[in-house]
């Protein structure tokens, strides 16, 4: 692993660093990222699904030359899956071997089988013990409260105590990014330890820039129409407003359909790339879509 890149010095440099890795960030977000790096605090990102919360961690890992360690949260996530686990089959093998060679007593055996090489590092331990890392704790809201409390302890000292082995401390603390889609409120205690940033939908100009980077196959004129259409859609009272990820998908879908401009017909065909609930699709398809297309074309 190469030596990680130094942290950027100011907000402009942070924005430039993210931009260099194809991430269009508003000044607010760049400030939050800079502070997370400089103050060594976890960055806690909330926002609608598909606004690029996870992406920021990936980009940071690339830009800073660190490994990305990702922990995907789910209900019932436990220490064996998140932190570490003993490699039981290999330990048994070791015991059999020492029995075969007629090796010594219990203490020697215990010391032999509880070694670092029999420890399977899961994401949290890997982020502390391995090479300098960006630790992405993704969708924390999906994990349950006990896990959150466990995380609290880890994030305050970046050390792990393993009863059989002792305490492992991070030589270089990982950069931590936590994301949440708000399917559950994350507890105040955890929020207090983090820097909080709400990732909003981008404005039209930023979204056009994102599309030109992420869906280059889609022409400029079409991109502008896509953005205008999606931005209008977000203003409507939908069950799930489309995120940036959906606009990128849709732009790519449209370019695969060889569309050069939005028409009501092509919108109806490809609406499934943008809206993921039948209620929303039924509401937009047809007349409403035609009207939005007309408005979007005028605006673009």
């Amino acid at each position: 692993m190469t030596e990680p890149t130094a942290f950027p010095a100011d907000v402009d440099a942070t924005g430039a660093m993210l931009a260099a890795h194809d991430y269009v960030a508003g000044r607010d977000l760049a400030t939050a990222v800079l502070l997370a790096l400089k103050l060594g605090r976890p960055l806690f990102l909330e926002g609608e699904a598909g606004v690029g919360k996870t992406e920021i961690a990936k980009v940071l890992a690339r830009a800073l030359g660190r490994t990305l360690v990702r922990l995907q949260c789910y209900d019932g996530l436990d220490a064996a899956a998140a932190l570490y686990e003993w490699d039981f089959p290999r330990q048994m093998m070791e015991i059999r071997l020492s029995e075969a060679t007629g090796a010594a007593g219990r203490d020697v055996l215990a010391a032999a089988i509880y070694q670092r090489k029999f420890l399977i590092a899961r994401p949290l331990l890997a982020a502390i013990d391995g090479p300098p890392a960006v630790l992405l704790i993704d969708e924390l809201d999906r994990a349950d409260e006990p896990f959150e409390a466990f995380l609290l302890e880890l994030l305050s000292d970046f050390q792990v105590t393993i009863p059989e082995l002792g305490t492992i401390r991070a030589v270089r603390p990982p950069v931590v990014v936590i994301t949440s889609n708000r399917t559950r409120e994350v507890h105040d205690a955890l929020r207090r330890r983090c820097l909080y940033h709400w990732v909003d939908f981008p404005n039209a100009a930023s979204e056009r820039k994102i599309l030109s980077l992420k869906a280059p196959g889609c022409g400029e004129a079409l991109s502008a129409q896509v953005v205008a259409f999606v931005q209008r859609l977000r203003g409507m009272d939908l069950f799930k407003a489309p995120g940036v990820a959906e606009s990128i998908d849709w732009a790519m879908a449209l370019s695969h359909l060889d569309a050069h401009e939005l028409t009501p017909a092509v919108v109806d065909q490809s609406l499934g790339a943008l809206l993921k609930y039948q209620d929303d699709i039924a509401r937009i398809r047809g007349e409403q879509a035609a009207q939005l297309v007309a408005e979007a074309k005028e605006a673009a």
């Binding site: 800079l34 019932g76 996530l77 436990d78 089988i113 909080y196 940033h197």
Partner: protein, 420 residues
């Protein structure tokens, strides 16, 4: 970790900024944001890490530390604007009033606190000669409610005291045990079905030989409980009692969310968390604008489905829907919203006080629209029915095959309550 900049420890060297940050955090605290001293220090650190002359950056930096929730951002921004325009504090009292208005729905306790502070500040401040006040659009956001809604402040003392006291004591004794659902975690159990390899090894090493196999089984835990309670005019008397029930439940276990609805939907989970029932109901009374008004069940459910269902119905939630089903809108959009609600939870129980009447028949449009989508339909009008409910919820949910069909029970129902 970055060492704290020396200039921060010494306010003289760092200029006025640290002092201002301190004043600003005080203002936020008064506005009801939970800002602790740790965050004040972090805010000062944050400012030392950026260019503190750039107002946009300062705002963003302070927000990452001091506004910990998206809902708090509005209050934060308003406070920031006022403070940085006039940090001497003369205008802050006026800002407090505006902040107050914005937060009306959100947090009654803090609102009361900020009003007290506002009064305190007004007391020791001389009236200040000033130019004509500039109208500030951003701050003029006091909520206005439509005229047809009855903005009645609920008075809990109006209840017949002796009866309520008895009922309350009984409710406190009630235990709500939900049928537990398995999680992905394990716990050691001598008669478990699974082999716990690491524990077996540890035990064998302690004893020197492999004597017994350690076992484990899945942990179970009760699912989240979400209560949606109707507080319209026809439900008032039941809502009062049921609030006691919900308060007891919300304080006895985790993962309980309580919503009230009449013409609008209010989340009162935080208010109910207060252990003291009197304080809790006082807070609820202030947070809820539409006691004893009409009901728009469809609209309330639509609001719940849209804004809350995805946030509180995860992990196999059980929903208690407490309403008489008498809908002012005649059941418009109701079956659609009920269908969505049913599909997003594991078990949907409808508690209807009207069921106590003999010969109850689902005639109203609202009731007919809702009935096919519930898993269970139960009366809730006296302590016995609450006890039955607790019993019911501790048993497995009925299978979800086809839509629910309610048949009136054969046995005679309870007579209407003695005293009106």
């Amino acid at each position: 970790m970055i060492p704290i900049d020396a200039s921060l420890a010494d306010p003289e060297a760092g200029g006025k900024l640290p002092l201002n940050v301190m004043h600003f955090t005080r203002l936020l605290r008064r506005a009801g944001l939970p800002v602790g001293p740790g965050q004040a220090v972090a805010a000062a650190q944050a400012l030392s890490a950026i260019d503190a002359t750039n107002r946009t950056d300062v705002r963003a930096a302070l927000a990452t530390v001091l506004a910990q929730r998206h809902e708090q951002r509005e209050v934060f921004d308003a406070a920031f604007d006022v403070f940085w325009r006039d940090p001497t504090g003369t205008e802050i009292a006026r800002a407090m009033a505006a902040i107050d208005g914005m937060r009306r729905q959100e947090d009654a306790k803090a609102r009361a606190a900020s009003r007290r502070i506002l009064e305190a500040m007004a007391g020791n401040q001389a009236p200040r000669p000033r130019e004509a006040p500039e109208p500030d659009q951003q701050l003029d956001m006091t909520l206005t409610f439509s005229a047809d809604e009855q903005l009645r402040e609920m008075d809990f003392e109006a209840m017949s005291a002796a009866e309520i006291a008895n009922a309350r004591a009984a409710i406190r004794r009630m235990r709500l045990v939900l049928e537990e659902t398995p999680t992905r975690r394990f716990r050691p159990a001598p008669n478990g079905h699974r082999w716990d390899a690491p524990a077996t090894l540890r035990r064998a090493l302690k004893r020197g030989e492999l004597l017994e196999i350690a076992r484990k089984r899945r942990r179970t835990r009760p699912p989240p409980l979400v209560a949606l309670c109707d507080i319209s005019g026809s439900m008032t008397r039941y809502a009062q009692i049921l609030l006691h029930f919900l308060h007891a439940v919300a304080n006895a276990r985790s993962r309980v969310h309580v919503f009230l609805f009449g013409t609008r939907l209010t989340n009162i989970t935080r208010q109910l968390r207060n252990r003291d029932p009197e304080v809790a109901f006082e807070l609820v009374g202030r947070a809820v604008p539409d006691w004893s008004g009409g009901t728009r069940i469809g609209e309330a459910l639509a609001g719940f489905n849209h804004h809350w269902a995805r946030r509180v119905l995860g992990q196999g939630a059980v929903v208690l829907l407490i309403t008489d089903g008498l809908d002012r809108d005649g059941g418009r959009d109701l079956s659609h919203q009920m269908e969505r609600l049913k599909k997003s939870c594991r078990r949907l129980v409808w508690l209807n006080p009207l069921l106590r009447y003999e010969g109850f028949a689902p005639k109203s449009l609202g009731i007919r629209a809702m009935l096919p989508f519930v898993d269970e339909f139960r009366p809730v009008h006296n302590l016995n029915s609450l006890a039955d409910l607790a019993e019911l919820l501790s048993k497995p949910a009925p299978p979800r095959d086809g839509s629910f069909a309610w048949t009136p029970p054969q046995a005679p129902q309870q007579s209407p309550p003695q005293a009106a």
